[in-house]
Subunit: 389 residues, 4 copies
């Protein structure tokens, strides 16, 4: 029989539901040596969190996160709140001796991120940051092909994370558009994912230059009560407020290994909903990925005979594709939700084997260091070095 870990989750909205889905299904697909027990979910609105507990399958609920962290029957805390609360909650959880799983971006400042790492390391707990795209089978396959040397020396990285959900100027000023809550706009929400993927596949970024823009300067304020439903659960008022985060950001980079990189993240790219794209060009091969068709990795190999070369559209749905094998027969694709099942499976496996989950808070912090350099460059107009952390 597998061992168990009692989980307490803070947050019940978009990420709260996604993480609940992960805990609920980890055992169905993975033969886990450590099983998550869905002990308690926590949120400020009792009405909403009560419903969430019942529908998501949590045994109990709390409305005060500090109380949740103190509960003796909780061994692991999942921080699925907006970015401005990550540091406080994660540090408190670590200090209480709980394992911690934090959503991304790990913190709204590099300083906070450093403190989080210090806290979990001091406490000796396991820690993981929610860069869920690492568990997309096609991205894991990219990693495998790179590690096998099939791409050779990397020359180019180009990445774009394109969405369009705030293209309408009447879309309200939700927390994801308020700097004091979310820290930044497309940068922390979207570019952070690209940076993590780049670090995973290519290596560390050395220097960056960037610029950003807020295309719509004012938006209607939000109005109405919290609900479980999705990104935009509330209505909007007649009053307007200032948007103080970036709608879009564009970035050039140089990697430590000599590769050139471009990054773009925007919520103003009409027609793209969750277009998380990257391409890698190396001396022996190239790779392409795009999330809206997330089961596919495109691979070009210079090893094929010249007259028969071309990008191969690999459907990463074989039993030997990491992060897919646990699911269905080939071609029976998985979706966004399954990345959260995979994250939970990774954390459970790490607990069972007493190893650190990947990506850890250290990865979260290194991503924050790159975000920090980008923000600096947007102001200075110059190339900025990524701080050593």
């Amino acid at each position: 029989m597998p061992s168990q870990v009692n989980v307490g989750l803070i947050g019940y909205a978009f990420m709260g539901r996604a993480h609940s889905f992960g805990y609920l299904n980890a055992g169905l697909f993975y033969n886990c040596d450590c099983m998550p027990v869905m002990k308690a979910i926590c949120g400020r609105s009792e009405d909403a969190v009560k419903v969430a507990a019942r529908r998501y399958g949590w045994q109990s609920y709390e409305t005060d996160w500090k109380k949740l962290i103190k509960r003796d029957d909780i061994e692991m805390i999942d921080v699925s709140t907006p970015g401005n609360q990550h540091a406080t909650m994660a540090i408190a959880a670590a200090q209480a001796g709980k394992h911690v799983f934090s959503e991304k971006p790990m913190a709204n400042s590099l300083d906070d991120a450093k403190k989080m790492v210090a806290a979990v390391e001091k406490a000796g707990v396991k820690h993981m940051v929610g860069f869920n795209y690492r568990t997309v089978p096609a991205i894991a396959l990219a990693k495998r092909l790179i590690d096998e040397g099939r791409i050779g020396t990397v020359y180019h990285w180009r990445a774009q994370y394109l969405q369009d959900w705030i293209l309408d100027p009447e879309f309200p000023l939700i927390w994801r558009l308020q700097k004091k809550v979310c820290g930044s706009g497309a940068l922390g929400d979207l570019a952070a994912h690209l940076i993590d993927t780049a670090r995973m596949l290519i290596g560390e970024i050395d220097t960056v230059t960037a610029t950003q823009e807020t295309f719509i300067k004012e938006r209607p304020l939000e109005a109405g009560a919290a609900t479980l439903e999705g990104l935009v659960g509330r209505g909007k008022s007649a009053q307007k407020g200032k948007v103080d985060v970036d709608d879009g950001v564009i970035i050039l980079s140089r990697f430590k290994n000599g590769a050139l990189g471009t990054f773009e993240a925007t919520r103003f790219s009409g027609g793209h909903k969750n277009y998380n794209f990257f391409e890698i060009n190396g001396s022996k091969g190239s790779l392409r990925f795009q999330f809206e068709d997330m089961n596919v990795l495109e691979f070009w190999s210079a090893d094929d005979p010249a007259y028969a070369q071309g990008f191969r559209k690999i459907l990463a749905t074989q039993s030997d594709h990491k992060h897919f094998g646990a699911y269905w027969p080939p071609g029976h694709i998985i979706g966004y939700g399954e990345t959260f099942i995979n994250e939970v499976a990774e954390f459970m496996d790490a607990l069972a084997k007493n190893r650190m989950p990947v990506p850890s808070f250290v990865d979260g912090m290194k991503c924050c260091a790159v975000l920090d350099a980008i923000t600096k460059s947007c102001k200075s107009g110059k190339w900025e070095k990524v701080p050593k952390v």
Copy 2:
């Protein structure tokens, strides 16, 4: 608080796990007025079914399906076994007054299908057949666009269901290749889905002509014990046995409304894993779908200005896309598994509203009537009329 229904599931392999996933997650995504309670799972191997119960979240298990059906605490039976058992089990369940959810093809013969319909109608229970592709949001969107008149008069239906998992002649003779168990090969397994989608979108088929082939005539026998894992859980022996089902089948049809149709189903189409494709051409528009990129529906409209016409690649992931709205923000795609959550949500909604779920056993039977005509045509070499049922 929602009402509840106690479910007993027969089968723990590929379909058993898929259906369990459906029951486990229906409440997380759907605000169900009737909630499934995962009462008991049933399978012949006690070792395997015991593990399945624990991992999939069932409260108890049985090894004798007759006993399961007799249990007073079970109100609904889910038949997720090979086709040769559907009729016996579903009829017994209906006679015991249980609602019935049967996998597809509903029966291995039209006669059996008719008996199943008679039984459920006599018992007055709710019944549904597992054509899960009906709940793919992109296919539901196709239905919507057709119902809105955006395609006009339909001229052409072309559909292909392409897989390649038995391309290797050394792949063993599993039950899906044995006529006495599965009834037919690609025909009942794959073409049945295409026929159901065609019926849903275009209407009834009038006549068919077809031919089929078994490319590999003999295969190694299976060996080893049952496991939970996937399609090919067992090893193979040195001995060979005869393959008596079709590896591939090709079909022409005429629909009652005058449209021409082509169907192809094969497990010998290298490079295609679960390529469930259809295209519809009408007087005002066209539609294209392919399961391996299942969140996409392509739509061409003659209403666009001539110089700006083209197939639109619609990502059916908006909140107002049927069967998607319950999940994630736009672009955060769903996968194959979610179709089973959608099926359970449909059955639960039907129970809550005391209406018949869609597709019902009548749809299952009508599909069997088309399969019957195709099988006849493969022998006669002539156009055969689809029997009236």
Copy 3:
């Protein structure tokens, strides 16, 4: 210095212009050992043919094709007229000792096709039929990969030729919709190309079953004078006439080598303009092609490692890709017109080397034999054997 051949072309409309483009440019791209001399073009309307001669680069013109054939300075006749004139003109040309290049379908009946073959063989002249798609580099690459054994035993052929130019019921009754001129509709115009490609890549077809439909039974008659411009050079009158050819045809086939085949040709497939598509599935590989993106061949190989298999999108624009090498650097794609340059280059090369061009009238006749069997099956409703020719 290369030798020369004096060409006389009959026809100045769509095909006449396309062939003129071929003669005009063969020398620019190909280092021909025999160069075409554009001696004379022939058409019934003197006004139009005079303009055509000047604009297309012909040294002279004729209005009587019999006179053209008799001219001593003409060594080769190009028959680019509607199908009902091919036999008469080609036979007369052969009897006059001229080499003959005939557009496809070679004849409106198998009988006529046989007579044409008899005539050219008796005369000992070179002959070629205008299946220009054979010279698409991506299709030539398909042939190469098949010949290299990379596909293995062929199991499936599926082909579709989809257009939509007569979807509008008010499109006039041009000659391509009149049986006495064109012989058949989508069958001879479009399916003929698919059949030729199938013969080139897979081999001979043994038996067929088929059905066809005329969706729009009556159309406005044509009105107005001939012009050079495209497919629909004339206006339409208020009067209507009967459409007596097929708008669409669907076909099942069995090849002599055991493969199953499906064919579809239609002018009622909205959104497809010149969608000439085929796919081949074999024991070791698969191939896909579609003309609207004609420089691409998709190739799936079972030889790639299982986890890295996928359809490769090969851009057939390398210098070692047959029928492309004469043009541009890689990636600088060619279009439809270039297939006619390639055809002329093939004929010139055959003349220089005193060999028969490919495809010859014998190929044209064999295609007519398949068309003949399809037409029979459309009437009989049964499988028909392709006549031996």
Copy 4:
């Protein structure tokens, strides 16, 4: 009868052949009011230029470009040589009163470009620069949709020009890799095209920041004699020389109208042959283009109903698509070569109508101004303003 202009072409290699193809075929497709007469072609190697004259259809040849320009029977000079000769030749031609058509980039320095503009303006001749991609029908369609207001306010421009022909370190040091001949590498050869397209579609660029890299620092020297054939007509020697141009360049920009832009040009992007890509995102619509499938423009419109929005794949091959209508029926795609026919048609039309062709030397100069700012930024590491010209 149309008027005529006598053309003299300098250059017989890649661009020389491409331009010859343009002159040879303009009349076949376009009903030109002014017809080009292929008077003389000029090149330094008499052996090669003699063959070129015969094969491309030129009436005579020269080996001294100064002599060509002096010929009284020449009215228009086409400069299809490497960039370092453009200024000298074009200025001499203008001074001799000839119309001038120069390949791009117009000059290797902004200073030279300014002198060229001054010369042609002083001489009062017609002038055009060879940004042939402007005549791709899909790009012209993009312009039309933008002009119609279907994109709204532009927020994002992203463009990549990806090739891979020098990925092999053993590829020789041809003139396109020598700064003294070509001025720059991917920047002038590829990015110049992107910049021109951006200017055509979005407007003027205000500021840029950029960086570039030479991945392979040394390459084998070229050896052997000139031939007509393609990009790499010669062999290579055992000796190596230094590569002093950029292999790849990445650029951020801000447009005068407030849009953000990214550009990338590289010859080290394995698997891409002539991947000239751009995407535009505006407040009401988006556009995407990629040259390897050059007949397609993707268009997303916010005007479509929300549930039916998606990128439309428009095949720009209708008779009312600018730069296509002269060719074939819909779906019968054109290729790279046809852009040169379109360029000639544009120049001829301008001569007939006594208007300036588009794009003129002024456009060529403005592109050089952007290249100049990029080069500066690659050195300074800062944002640089595009010089006013």
